[in-house]
């Protein structure tokens, strides 16, 4: 797992540090009409031209940060011109908990990421609150009588919802609920929801993400529910004369929910995509929005921090889903 994270960050590091990307960075930082020599000298002054593995080691904090003398001034990765010489640190990298400095937002990367993650966390919390119960209800209702009319219509609904990516449903929702042509019930922009989320400005982004993820979970729930409903012990319960509602709620449901749990956990990385799209579409300045800004401007250190966070999210959810599966399923736990 650590190896995967390390490999992934190195790939991101390598791609962002390719020369054309550095050139673009230099030009956005300086000005767009810089000559090739000016670009090279800017990059050299800021330590971008060292060999790739060395730079990666510096970013990680296992190699000492670069120190250079430019125009009689000592410059380095780990200090700026104002720090007194005695306080110059040798190592500064992720291992020293120094995530670097964002060139787009002109502030510390860790502060930006923490703030934006909080905002996205809020969004995700409400998405989960809407998506999970809805998906489970749809799946259980569809799966309890396989082949019935209810099953057919709910299954088609969940197929339709997986077939509608966020940028399509978001556009349609805005057109219907937040434009001059449709009803103006909700806000088409969620910028104000960053401070104060309410029903009017937060519904559309939440529903947009929830809808796309819902279909998949509902289908998984349905599949595992239909499987459970054909099991022997359900037939026994029926023959005993237990009512249908009781069978579904007390006998089938618990066993049917093991598989969807795994799916819900594995859905997190997918939701990350949805978050990026929806935050861009609704102008909600969270984690996904930062990703777009960082990637669009080749903000190397911010982009690295963003990818580290998202890779950790992916790997941790995989781990939780494995552990949770064992915990929920007594057959595996006991053996």
């Amino acid at each position: 797992m650590l190896l995967t994270a390390l490999c992934l960050t190195f790939i991101v590091f390598w791609l962002t540090n390719l020369y054309p990307n550095l050139e673009k960075l230099a030009k956005t930082q300086g000005n767009f009409r810089m000559s090739d020599e000016a670009v090279a000298s800017y990059l050299d002054k800021n330590g971008y031209l060292e060999p790739m593995p060395v730079k990666f080691g510096q970013w990680l904090g296992v190699l000492p940060g670069w120190v250079k003398e430019v125009d009689g001034e000592l410059r380095g990765k780990c200090f700026d011109t104002l720090t007194p010489e005695a306080e110059h640190a040798t190592f500064c990298g992720v291992l020293q908990n120094d995530w670097g400095f964002s060139t787009v937002f002109k502030s510390d990367v860790s502060a930006i990421v923490a703030e934006r993650l909080g905002l996205t966390g809020k969004l995700m919390f409400f998405v989960m609150l809407v998506m999970v119960p809805m998906a489970l209800i749809v799946g259980v209702l569809a799966g309890m009588r396989e082949g019935s009319k209810l099953d057919r219509s709910l299954s088609t609904f969940s197929i339709a919802s997986t077939a509608t990516p966020e940028y399509v449903s978001g556009v349609i929702f805005i057109a219907v609920f937040a434009s001059s042509a449709g009803w103006k019930i909700f806000n088409g922009s969620a910028t104000s929801a960053m401070e104060d989320a309410n029903f009017v400005n937060f519904t559309l982004p939440v529903v947009t993400i929830a809808l796309y993820g819902m279909g998949y979970i509902a289908r998984m729930t349905r599949a595992s529910m239909t499987e459970v409903m054909t099991a022997q012990y359900i037939r026994t319960a029926r023959l005993k004369g237990v009512s249908f509602g009781n069978i579904v709620l007390k006998h089938a449901l618990r066993n049917a929910l093991i598989a969807p749990f795994t799916v819900i956990m594995l859905q997190f990385p997918w939701l990350l995509n949805g978050v990026v799209i929806v935050e861009t579409l609704f102008n909600y300045k969270g984690f996904g929005w930062v990703l777009v800004q960082a990637a669009g401007n080749n903000d190397i250190e911010l982009l690295l921090a963003v990818s580290v966070v998202s890779v950790i999210v992916v790997l941790v959810t995989q781990l939780i889903s494995d552990i949770g599966y064992v915990y929920l399923n007594p057959r595996i736990r006991i053996s």
Partner: protein
């Protein structure tokens, strides 16, 4: 002239789409009549859902093919701007229509005064071209690597699975933002990836034929020479542009000279294509690997092993045909997913040119004024949705029908 009413717009759109309806009838009538004799394809027409899905997919395929290269359905040029038509609602009449010009913007004009209807049809052609082909390449990569990983297991499997999981752990959008930029195109990385990814169909076809016919050298040698010749030529024309395989400011690797180069691919399209294949192939790899691991324990595989068949013969001629059901279903689903990915790229303005009529780009340019003018973004959004929905329903129908027997 008066703008059209909604009823008239509907009628005129239907009339413009007439070639598509005719093509659909031509496909559906014989299929329905002979559905008992057409195998899995015929069985599709037994399930309503599968039939609806197939109709939706074929609708867009015909609209793309007839409207794209054959230029039939479209009413205006998708790139030309007509004065006075900026953001006009559906059914608006042209101010001064020229001789022979279609007098209305059936589905309105976008923010650059272009015809929304024609752009959607032209956009269908882009999707219909790229999505199935990219999915096919992803399948070639996934099958060629997944079969040995599942069949042999061991260290090969560990390494390949690690690589696949590595790519899968990447958030797709981050990967796109890193790969699909003009700066990356300059470094030549997409060309290297194309070199690597596009070789797989060639490898696949060669191994497939060789493993089957290597006992009959008289048939095998000319057959392989032909196949490698044709596919190799296609491969080389695919990867070389302007006489070079990789051309960066610093160096160039010479490729096929321009005279025998069949077609050139725009670098913007190439990078989109390559990254979509790259994102899709690890998932296909995992599916094929899982299927191979499951099927290799069957009796007919042991029988083939006892007969002394080579490992590639077993993989490609015993395991693969028996894994076709799930693979066909996944192929349909994956085309839909690829369509979504293409739309995502367009939505973030990556890769394709900003005036390109593909659906994602059109949605992106339409969303800025979405609160005031709905139609430029909603029309391509609905188009994309119906196409992906069709593919999903088709996959569902196929799954149901293939499970039945």
């Amino acid at each position: 002239m008066e703008p059209l009413t909604w009823g008239e717009i509907f009628l005129r759109v239907m009339q413009q789409l007439m070639p598509v309806w005719i093509a659909l009838i031509v496909v559906f009538a014989p299929s329905l009549a002979f559905k008992r004799r057409l195998g899995l394809y015929g069985k599709l027409f037994d399930s309503t859902i599968g039939m609806i899905g197939f109709a939706l997919v074929m609708f867009w395929v015909f609209a793309g093919v007839l409207g794209g290269p054959l230029d039939m359905i479209v009413t205006h040029d998708p790139l030309s701007q007509i004065s006075g038509m900026k953001n006009k609602p559906p059914g608006t009449a042209l101010r001064r229509p020229d001789e022979g010009q279609y007098a209305y913007f059936l589905l309105g004009g976008d923010n650059l005064a272009r015809d929304v209807f024609s752009r959607v049809i032209k956009g269908a052609w882009i999707v219909v071209q790229i999505a199935p082909l990219a999915t096919l390449f992803a399948f070639m990569v996934g099958i060629t690597l997944g079969l040995p990983a599942g069949y042999y297991g061991g260290r090969l499997d560990t390494v390949l699975s690690f690589l696949a999981n590595l790519i899968l752990a990447f958030p797709v959008i981050l990967l796109f933002y890193l790969l699909v930029t003009p700066e990356i195109v300059l470094t030549g990385i997409p060309n290297y990836m194309a070199l690597f990814l596009f070789i797989f169909p060639l490898v696949f076809a060669t191994i497939l034929l060789n493993s089957r016919y290597h006992t009959q050298p008289k048939l095998r040698t000319p057959l392989l020479a032909c196949v490698i010749g044709v596919l190799g030529w296609l491969y080389l024309s695919l990867v070389s542009t302007g006489g070079a395989v990789v051309a960066t400011p610093g160096y160039r690797i010479p490729g096929l000279p321009g005279a025998i180069d069949l077609f050139d691919i725009d670098p913007g399209i190439l990078v989109v294509f390559v990254s979509v294949v790259f994102v899709n192939s690890p998932t296909v790899f995992r599916i094929v690997r899982g299927l191979a691991m499951d099927i290799k324990t069957r009796d007919y595989v042991s029988a083939a092993q006892t007969r002394g068949e080579g490992p590639w013969y077993i993989m490609l001629w015993e395991i693969l045909p028996n894994a076709r059901g799930p693979l066909i279903v996944d192929f349909c689903l994956r085309i839909g997913y690829t369509t979504i990915l293409l739309g995502t790229l367009g939505f973030f303005g990556l890769g394709l040119a900003s005036e390109s009529p593909d659906w994602g780009t059109t949605i992106n340019s339409g969303r800025q004024l979405l609160r005031a003018y709905v139609h430029p973004a909603v029309v391509p959004a609905v188009a994309l949705m119906t196409m992906v929905l069709g593919l999903n329903l088709l996959a569902d129908g196929l799954r149901e029908e293939s499970l039945r027997d």
